[in-house]
């Protein structure tokens, strides 16, 4: 295959991820610069184990950010991703530990609960015309409370479900290539991202996701049942939060009912750093992944450098601004 050929028919992988072929992924450069910077500053940074720790730190936030990406592309916003994740983790805990059901049922229950809650948010937004910010803020609070109610304000442990912690912590890849012990959580993140990119780029649902964010009224005037599709997008995002719930529960081997607040801002930040516009209509899953990685690398790198915690926060804030600014400058040049 010649070079020309490969560029005119990009690989399936590239096509899958780059749903808006015109959008250049400029955030990538910031990520590389961060990686290089930290490697020079600390010899400990570029260890395999640390790289894996970064990937693992990305996994939960990355999955949440993918969910947020979908909603944001429709022109909405989802503040409930964090507490929904927790709620789904608690549901898994109840089904697996309290009811003693088998593992697959617990996983399905969590994902189903996520989809259902997403459907509720979607209904509030699409049918009741409640602004997404308020609808999902309300859901965030409702779910935060319900997680505590259902779990009786106590963590639920998965000690009776052998293998549960392997969902996130085990390493299928490591079993095959012992030199590359990438945890399953990271694998799942990539599978979720690929699936989301596929849906966005290749399916009717994805098309309407972009169309809704671009000009909802025009879509409606074209005779499309915009409410149905919007609710579908929110449900899908909810289901993905369910997956994040399983991931975090597995990683902590427990469902922590109070966790999740504040995760929404981090997820949305990853989405925006990745180049998705908060006004909707444009965005890529790959960008979101890079955004989530930038956040994780930044946090980890500053810790490995032993920067004082209060300065870590300052530097994180400054670098987030700079990374997005660098993007703007590059975009202008391009």
């Amino acid at each position: 295959m010649t070079v020309v050929n490969s560029s005119s028919t990009p690989s399936l992988f590239a096509r899958l991820i780059d749903t808006g072929a015109h959008q250049k992924l400029l955030a990538f450069a910031s990520l590389i610069m961060l990686l290089i910077g930290f490697s020079i500053a600390s010899p400990n940074f570029m260890q395999t184990s640390n790289m894996i720790a970064i990937l693992q730190a990305t996994s939960v936030n990355g999955v949440l950010a993918v969910a947020a990406t979908l909603v944001i592309i429709t022109g909405g916003i989802d503040l409930s991703v964090g507490t929904l994740m927790t709620f789904c983790a608690v549901i898994a805990g109840v089904v697996l530990t309290n009811l003693g059901m088998p593992l697959p049922i617990g996983v399905l229950a969590a994902i189903g609960a996520g989809a259902f809650c997403g459907l509720c948010s979607g209904t509030f937004v699409a049918k009741m015309k409640i602004p997404p910010f308020i609808a999902t803020l309300g859901m965030m609070l409702i779910l935060k409370g319900l997680s505590l109610v259902i779990s009786d304000t106590r963590p639920i442990y998965f000690n009776d479900t052998p293998g549960f912690d392997q969902i996130s912590r085990g390493s299928l890849i490591g079993d095959i290539f012992p030199a590359l012990p990438i945890p399953n959580g990271v694998l799942i993140l990539f599978i979720v991202a690929l699936a989301a990119a596929y849906i966005l780029g290749r399916t009717v649902l994805g098309r309407y996701t972009f169309a809704l964010g671009s000009n909802e009224e025009a879509v409606r005037l074209s005779g499309v049942n915009t409410d149905f599709w919007k609710m579908s997008v929110y449900s899908l995002a909810g289901a993905i939060c369910g997956i994040a719930g399983i991931l975090i529960a597995s990683r902590l081997n427990s469902a922590q009912p109070a966790l999740g607040l504040g995760y929404e801002l981090e997820a949305i930040a990853a989405v925006v750093i990745g180049g998705t516009s908060l006004s909707g209509g444009r965005g890529t899953v790959l960008g979101t992944l890079i955004g989530a990685l930038i956040m994780a690398v930044l946090t980890n790198g500053l810790r490995v450098l032993s920067v004082a915690q209060e300065w870590q926060t300052v530097v994180t804030g400054a670098i987030i601004i700079l990374a997005v600014y660098a993007d703007m400058v590059r975009k202008k040049k391009a």
Binding site: R202, V204, L205, G206, S214, N215, L221
Partner: protein, 508 residues
């Protein structure tokens, strides 16, 4: 033979506006039925009722002889009614093909899209329209004219029995209009009924079979297009006679040069454009779609950056890097795209009129004098006959033409020495058009320098003292105004693709 569409006694009210009063309308298959009326007469509203966007408050609606109730756009689509909206309603982030087939994407199994089929079908439609457009272009990157073509393509793709076209040609040039008319004739031959709304009177004779006129939300009458003089239709619309004075070219030999542009360039869009305008002069800019006239105006105004070029106002070189600099230097620019670049549509008429001159209405501490603003706004509402219940009405609720008048009022009040009007009469009715022409002439005779960019050749010819013609980013020539210049002369320069340029006259 039953009517394709029959509307009887249609009523529609908005808060503060009785938009449709007992309106009737009928459409036969295979006919082009023009719907005429001043800005705000209710044409778009009637069509929105027919296409299921607004529920009607009263009256009856028959399609193919069957009485129907439309509960949404889908219901109307299912009855074979397609519409091209007056205001573009496209998804800017999607591609051309994706826009055309939104809601009807060719699918594979499991909800997967067949993108190849989608693009192929778009290309097919473009071919039938004689339009060379890449189906994968993002719509937001197109000019308004091209976007309008996309809207037309979309409407055609429905293969409707009834096709409503609400000012489809407002943004098109003559060549494209001719193309559109070919399409319309073909559809007509296939038995499609077409409702055609336009403010361009000359189009009536070319395309319409019958003409229905509305005024102030009421039905006035229906006449045969072929044997009714245009002046009769105009007086039905306006309720009075409209006159158009021929252009009188003043002697400007001694007049001061107000604006001088030399060597203006930016990439491929603008290539070494130089011209000047004198005090009291109206310089027309003609050219085909995408010739670069808008780009030139925006570059002068500082709305876009420029690579090189000098702008001199009153002989003094000005460094203009943002619109605020241009306004300070005395240059005003009325954009061709009022919705995106001209109006704060969510705000009231009063604020929009004052938007470029708020400093004149405020005290030293920045407190606004609301009464003065009201007076000024009401003054212009009267002068330009803007149809609005009050100066506090939100601009987005006005009809398209009236919105345009608000933008004009904004620049008139700002009182710049040099005014650039980009498509100033787009979507404006005949009556108001002649008022605007009078206004532009008055502004010039008061000693201002005026630049008018227009895609309507008759308009350029009726107004301009000199006519600059552009093609593909280059200024291909500047012709004298008045009788001696013909449409053919202009079209020749407008299609002169070779890189030769001879100001003030004909190329070899």
């Amino acid at each position: 033979m039953t009517n394709l569409v029959l509307m009887k006694g249609i009523e529609k009210r908005f808060p503060g506006v009785h938009a449709l009063k007992n309106v009737s309308f009928e459409l036969n298959s295979g006919e082009v039925h023009a719907l005429m009326g001043e800005n705000g007469a209710g044409k778009s509203t009637l069509m929105k009722v027919l296409s299921g966007i607004y529920p009607k408050d009263g009256g009856e609606l028959f399609v193919n002889g069957q009485e129907v109730e439309l509960d949404g756009p889908r219901a109307s689509q299912d009855l074979g009614i397609g519409i091209i909206h007056q205001e573009l309603s496209l998804m800017n982030d999607l591609t051309v093909a994706q826009n055309i087939f939104i809601g009807r994407e060719p699918r594979l199994r499991f909800g997967r899209l067949d993108e190849a089929a989608l693009n192929a079908r778009a290309v097919e439609i473009f071919r039938s329209m004689n339009l060379g457009l890449d189906p994968k272009t993002i719509v937001g990157e197109l000019t308004i004219a091209k976007q309008q073509m996309v809207e037309i393509a979309k409407a055609l793709s429905y293969e409707s029995r009834v096709l409503i076209m609400d000012e489809p040609t407002a943004a098109l040039n003559d060549a494209e209009i001719a193309e559109l008319f070919t399409i319309i004739r073909r559809l007509k031959a296939d038995g499609v009924g077409i409702i055609y709304i336009s403010h361009k009177m000359d189009e009536l004779k070319q395309i319409a079979d019958r003409v229905t006129v509305m005024r102030d939300g009421a039905y006035i009458g229906t006449v045969e297009a072929a044997d009714t003089p245009v002046s009769k239709i105009i007086s039905m619309m306006v309720g009075r006679e409209v006159t158009n004075d021929p252009v009188v070219i003043p002697d400007l030999s001694g007049a001061e040069t107000m604006l001088e542009v030399t060597g203006l360039s930016r990439g491929r869009e603008i290539q070494d454009v130089s011209f000047s305008v004198k005090k009291g002069e109206i310089l027309g800019f003609a050219g085909l779609m995408g010739a670069g006239r808008t780009e030139v105006a925006r570059a002068i105004f500082g709305a876009d950056p420029r690579d090189s070029g000098e702008i001199r106002v009153h002989g003094k070189s000005c460094s203009i890097s943002k619109p605020a600099d241009a306004v300070k230097a005395g240059i005003g620019y009325l954009s061709e795209d009022r919705k995106h670049f001209g109006l704060a549509t969510g705000m009231d008429v009063r604020t929009n009129v004052a938007l470029a001159s708020l400093d004149r209405f405020s005290s030293r501490f920045g407190v606004l004098r609301e009464t003065d603003m009201r007076k000024t706004a009401q003054d212009y509402i009267g002068k330009l006959e803007i149809r609005t219940p009050s100066d506090r009405q939100e601009v987005r609720l006005l009809s398209g033409g009236n919105q345009q008048k608000v933008v004009i009022a904004k620049w008139l009040y700002r009182d710049c020495d040099i005014l650039i009007f980009d498509e100033p009469t787009r979507g404006i009715d005949v009556g108001a058009k002649s008022e605007i022409y009078k206004l532009l002439k008055n502004l010039a005779s008061e000693g201002r320098a005026i630049i008018v960019i227009s895609s309507e050749l008759p308009e350029v010819m009726r107004l301009s003292h000199r006519i600059a013609v552009m093609c593909e980013g280059r200024l291909t020539g500047i012709l004298p105004g008045g009788e001696e210049t013909t449409q053919e002369d202009i079209m020749h320069l407008a299609t002169l693709r070779a890189p030769s340029m001879q100001p003030e006259g004909y190329p070899q």
